[in-house]
Amino acid sequence: MVKLTELATGAEGQIVDITSENLVRERLLELGVAPGRGLRVVHRLPLSGPMVVQAGSTFIALREFEAETIWVELV
């Protein structure tokens, strides 16, 4: 199990757990990011800027701070 931030661009993982505060967990869920679901790292921006992931058919940009709370199992 690794943090989402440790995934390389193009890597896919299955979400195991999300440990951020409830507000962010809720919003992630509402965007389709939830434990049990697959996730793919699509783009990463330089200087530890936001990364873009695809969950289902949604592209989501999120900060490293949030991405660090998403724990995934590599597929």
Binding site: V24, L31, P50, V52, F59, I60
Partner: protein, 617 residues
């Protein structure tokens, strides 16, 4: 007869406003950016869609991911839904058919609240284009609601939707806000959503691959930021070079109009009123409408394509350094058109502190009202050198951004409060902007701009003409007439305030009238310096040559490099706009915020303008 309010609710960017326009025949601006609707719009249902005895009014709401709001625009929706003044019983959930899984919980929350729900399925064309069908019957059975497909491009399916709305039975009791869902419950419903989505639409769409491919370039670690800078440079420089021919045309037309008026009305008082008070006042500002139009075209184009969400993502890291968030990018960018809609767009910023900071610096962004002033003053500094003129315009735009950034960074340090901040932004798929839509939106915005400012300019120009002509109206020498006029008495009293900036009372009066709207400064100068006396075939040339000849009582010129630079700095930083102050007060629900902003910005502007003048002269 009772009017029934029906609300359109859905996740951001799901197509609510497009559907609203089809249902009501309105032409609300539709934008490919999540969070582009921040307020409720209302409109009666088109008559040909319903029976004469039915009175239905449609409410378009800001997008929300759930009934448990996480930002102010989402709160607007939730409050409206349960606001007894609207008496909403029926809700149309606008469901993006490419994103079914994560929208089911919104349907469930509205059902739990007790609304009668119809689901309108949008983005259907994306499925059809790839020969993939959404099993709507199955979707309807799973959700337990009627389901109507809507063709956003052609408006198909709207009639069926209306009859589905009409068929919904009365409710046993008014809807009520459901108790907050536990995270585990949300998770369960989300799983249900995934199940439903997988069973109704089996084929994976390739439209996402195209978007991903484009983003490989536009969000590329190296190319992405470079393209972003290039896009912004192109947008703001086009204001200058793309608008020039149209500006010359407008300018010449007004000069011609003044000539013709003089020819028919002679040189009497009435003729002077029409040419000096009305035509030159209005013409001085309307000359810049082509520039404003070009700016709107550029922004509309970006909005429709879906690029704005990428731009917000690219700029998130730099903005976080000054206490802001990528979500502040779109409000700040719209601040280059006008601070009023920009401040309203700041509702979509989740964190209170970030919203506060964004609201504070939005007026620093160079709004379209400053453009006429800049163009005139830069035109004075660089007569025939359009390269330097363009460069100094760029410097003013950039300078204002830098001041805004410094202000935000400082305020971020001073205000110790920390509010939870997150950046989670959905990136919509790219869509090719339609020229027709871009032009229509830009024409609409430009018209709104003219309608908003033209009456103010007209009234103030006429009033200023009267005040600068009377009581000594029969005096032939216009300089003597102005010296003995009413406005001179008021203006001379205030002159000590403006002397440190290097200008006389006439320019001071221009600065004061600019508080009604910044561009009034230009028309005020045009009226007080009697532009149409010059026999130029361009009003602008006439004003510039009058400025060159204008002197203080002792014969020293008023408009020098030092005083013009001082004026430019003042306009760059000052908050001279009553509408902005009113909007700030309303959006922050704080008179104090609006006053602190008004006083501090103008004080800084004045001090720096005086400083610039004393250094340069």
């Amino acid at each position: 007869m009772n009017i029934e309010n029906v609300a359109l609710v859905g996740t951001p960017n799901s197509g609510k406003t497009t559907l609203f326009n089809w249902l009501t025949g309105r032409k609300q601006k539709v934008v490919n950016y999540p969070g582009s609707t921040v307020d409720i719009s209302m409109g009666p249902l088109l008559e040909n869609l319903t029976l004469p005895e039915q009175k239905i009014q449609i409410l378009d709401t800001p997008g929300t991911y759930s009934l448990f709001a996480k930002s102010q625009d989402e709160e607007v929706t939730v409050q409206a839904l349960f606001d007894e003044q609207y008496q909403i019983r029926k809700v149309v959930v606008v469901l993006d058919s490419t994103q079914i899984a994560r929208q089911v919980h919104l349907v469930r929350q509205l059902q739990e609240a007790g609304f009668a729900v119809v689901v309108a399925v949008t983005m259907h064309d994306l499925h059809r284009r790839e020969n993939s069908e959404v099993n709507l019957q199955h979707l309807s059975a799973q959700l337990g609601t009627p389901v109507c497909p809507i063709d956003g491009v052609l408006g198909g399916g709207v009639k069926d939707l209306v009859s589905a709305i009409e068929k919904l039975g009365p409710l046993p009791k008014p809807p009520q806000m459901p108790p907050k869902w536990a995270l585990t419950h949300l998770q369960e419903i989300f799983k249900e959503g995934v199940r439903i989505a997988e069973s109704v639409a089996k084929k994976k769409l390739t439209v996402f691959n195209q978007t991903e491919k484009l983003d490989r370039v536009l969000l590329h670690p190296g190319w992405g930021p470079l393209i972003f800078v290039f896009v912004m440079l192109f947008l703001f420089s086009s204001i200058y070079w793309a608008a020039a021919p149209a500006m010359d045309f407008v300018d010449a037309s007004f000069a011609q109009l003044a000539e013709t008026t003089k020819f028919y009305l002679g040189s009497g008082l009435l003729s002077q009123f029409v040419t000096d008070g009305v035509i030159s006042g209005l013409g001085a500002v309307l000359v810049f409408v082509p520039q404003i139009f070009i700016l709107f075209v550029g922004i509309s184009f970006l909005e429709d394509s879906g690029y704005l969400a990428r731009a917000a993502t690219l700029i998130d890291k730099p903005l976080s350094k000054i206490g802001l968030n990528g979500k502040a990018f779109v409000p700040l960018l719209s601040g280059f058109a006008c601070a009023v809609p920009a401040m309203m767009a700041a509702r979509s910023i989740n964190s209170t502190k970030e919203k506060w900071l964004a609201m504070f610096i939005i007026p620093f962004m160079t709004c379209s009202a400053r453009l006429p002033v800049y163009a005139l003053l830069i035109g004075f500094l660089f007569v025939d050198n359009s390269f330097y003129a363009g460069l100094s315009l760029a410097a003013l735009y950039l300078g204002a951004v830098i001041v805004g950034a410094v202000a935000s960074a400082l305020l971020n340090k001073i205000v110790k409060v920390k509010t939870p901040s997150f950046f989670l932004l959905e990136l919509p798929i790219y869509r090719r902007p339609q020229a027709r839509v871009v032009l229509r939106n830009s024409v609409k915005r430009t018209k709104a701009y003219i309608v908003k400012t033209a009456p103010i300019i007209l009234v103030l120009s006429m009033a200023l003409w009267v005040l600068s002509t009377f009581p000594n109206y029969s005096e032939g020498d216009k300089a003597v007439r102005l010296q003995s006029s009413y406005i001179s008495k008021v203006g001379s009293g205030l002159e000590p305030v403006f002397t440190p900036m290097g200008v006389d009372w006439r320019v001071g009066v221009g600065l004061i009238t600019a508080f009604a709207a910044r561009e009034v400064f230009v028309s005020s100068l045009a009226v007080m310096f009697n532009v149409t006396d010059e026999d130029e075939d361009s009003l602008r040339e006439g004003l510039l040559s009058q400025m060159r000849n204008a002197t203080f009582a002792d014969g020293t010129p008023i408009f020098t490099v030092a005083s013009v630079v001082s004026l430019l700095i003042f306009f760059m930083l000052a908050l001279q706009c009553i509408s902005t102050v009113a909007t700030a007060r309303q959006e922050m629900r704080s008179t104090r915020f609006a006053m602190v902003q008004l006083v501090s910005m103008n004080l800084i502007a004045y001090v720096l303008a005086v400083l610039a003048h004393s250094i340069m002269s």
